[in-house]
């Protein structure tokens, strides 16, 4: 199909970045500009009359990614919502400051918030389906965002929406444009939501448990997409998850949040390999108890691909010949779909 080929070309063009409209407009940014600064932020529940988040601090520059790990109720989502100006009723920022691209959010008018959201800071959440109108085609919903946020006319907005669907690696963006939310898988829906979130070229994207409900290969796809957007466009990321391993995949810096308290914060490697706090150590232990690593032979990690590609050793060769009756211990059936 010619459309499909054209779309592939579009994706390819997006990759090398020689089509200025294909990617969310990477504005020339000084690399050291702080796009999101959260300084000793405290959040208060005014009904329960208690402080829920006791001082969170981090800074994000273009292309950086910070991860926030914690259980439900740890305050990670509230922290994100504060940065987006969408704290639930009765919750207020009771201390500290938040700056978005140098602008303190404390004095923002609703009109100014509307201007910042989407075009400077944006977000995706756990359940993509609930953020889309089930009775509208997904493309039209993205085009609407583009029309309102980027001020494009209808026809241009449609074209841009298709470009965005291609930019999030949906394979047939024209087709997806015309589909309804119920026709798409969870992974595709989350891509659509990411497309909508980056439609107005934000500098910061907050992903709050954005991959939690997805299958493991789809989760990896979405995380890879985020990493890819970050590299291609300088998008800064806040990745929030209950799973330390998910955060470790994407982020340079990690904050471990427990009961509203940052118990540990530092470069990812340091937090993973020299955890100081008992809670961080517990998260690591827990992962090791039922994560896959426990069953991986010590050196298989590095060698797995070499083995699979080249078939090292006699055993692997025997398998490659079709797993004859003589090798019952390794009789692997193989049903190639290549």
């Amino acid at each position: 199909m010619t459309t499909t080929q054209a779309d592939r070309d579009l994706v390819a063009a997006t990759d090398v970045g020689d089509s200025p409209t294909a990617t969310p407009t990477p504005r020339p940014l000084p690399a050291d500009e702080v796009v999101l600064a959260v300084r000793d932020v405290r959040i208060r529940d005014n009904v329960g009359d208690r402080e829920i988040v006791h001082g969170v601090t981090f800074e994000l520059r273009p292309g950086q990614a910070v991860g926030i790990v914690g259980e439900s109720g740890s305050g990670k989502t509230l922290t994100c919502r504060a940065a987006l100006g969408i704290l639930p009723e009765h919750f207020t920022v009771s201390g500290g400051t938040i700056e978005i691209a140098g602008e303190d959010i404390a004095g923002l008018t609703p009109a100014r918030w509307t201007a910042l959201r989407g075009s400077t800071i944006s977000a995706v959440f756990q359940d993509p389906g609930s953020y889309l109108n089930p009775s509208l085609r997904v493309g039209a919903q993205i085009a609407e965002v583009v029309r309102v946020k980027a001020g494009l006319r209808r026809r241009a907005a449609r074209a841009r929406a298709v470009e965005l669907l291609a930019a999030v690696r949906l394979r047939d963006p024209e087709l997806v444009y015309g589909q309804y939310p119920h026709e798409l898988s969870g992974g595709m829906l989350q891509r659509v939501l990411i497309a909508a979130a980056i439609a107005a070229g934000p500098r910061v994207l907050i992903a709050d448990e954005a991959t939690t409900a997805l299958d493991v290969t789809v989760q990896a796809e979405v995380l890879d997409l985020l990493a890819d957007l970050r590299e291609r466009t300088g998008l800064a990321l806040v990745v929030v998850s209950h799973d330390l391993a998910v955060v470790a995949q994407v982020c340079d810096e990690v904050l471990v949040l427990r009961d509203g308290e940052v118990v540990e914060q530092g470069p990812t490697e340091q937090v993973l390999y020299q955890p100081r706090h008992a809670y961080t150590r517990m998260l690591i232990d827990e992962h090791e108890q039922y994560g896959l690593e426990r069953f991986l032979d010590a050196d298989a990690d590095a060698d797995a691909d070499a083995d699979a590609d080249a078939g090292t050793g006699a055993e692997a060769d025997a398998d490659a010949d079709g797993g004859r009756a003589g090798a019952p211990a390794r009789d692997r059936e193989f049903d190639g779909v290549r």
Binding site: R171, S185, G186, D215, V216, T217, V218, Q219, A220, E221, D224, A227, D243, L244, A245, V246, A248, Q249, V250, L272, I284, E286, H287, E288, Q289, Y290, G291, L292, E293, R294, F295, L296, D297, A300, D301, A304, D305, D307, A308, A316, D319, A329, R330, D331, R332, E333, F334, D335, G336, V337, R338
Partner: protein, 283 residues
Amino acid sequence: MSADDQQRAGDRPILAVEDLAVHYGAGRRRQSVLDGVSLSVARGETVGIIGETGSGKSTFARTVLGLVRAGRGRILIDGEDVARHKPRQWQALRRRGVVQYVFQDPLRSLDPDLTIEDSLVEPLLVRGMRRPEAVERARAYLGRVRLDEDLLPRLPGELSGGQRQRVAVARALVAEPGLIILDEPVSALDSANRVGVLEILKGLRDSGVALLFISHDLGSVAGIADRIAVLYQGRFVEVGAARDVVNTPRHPYTRLLVGSAPTLRSAAAARARREELRALLRT
């Protein structure tokens, strides 16, 4: 090796599925879910089936349990081909209790209106065991899943999710079946309960019962399965010893699956590798 060959003597597998095809819908809406799959489970063996949403793994379980009709192929349960069984025949088979099951949501495998005791003794009473004897056995199996017998007079709704799932495992065990099919048995549990139930399942390995453990999570299956079968788009693309499948996956999908599991190790190289595998699977 065909099932006929194996029929001699007691090394006959407890479950042998041969060239099973299942579809939903008809005509233009016909959708193939399982596309000629074969798998056997030896007596006392633990086999894991790994698959993601839409792979057909739950359909596989439900077909073997007689809840979904097989379109083609054979399903030999302890040598008896059940693929064309009528409801009455299924009823008789279930009464014998050769195959038991545990679902993701324990409320689905436990009657909410029956006390734990009644749930546990029911399959035994149906087979003519006298109540005192049945209660005795129920107590014993409750102990095997590390639950206190204080729970016997309670209703499922009064138990925690982890306790309920243990009761569901005990209920599957009391009938002393040859095979238990577990469909995502730990997916709804928090990490502590998950580890607890996995330990119990691991403990069953010496008891002679075979387990068919179906899950989307390679990590929870890898520790207890002797063999792992990887289901992808309605076909088993790889079947092998658990350690081999995890450590030297051979099919591109299995490699992607292993390579996609979030790890605490460094991730940059893994990303490029995944991209290659996805491209391979697309073609």
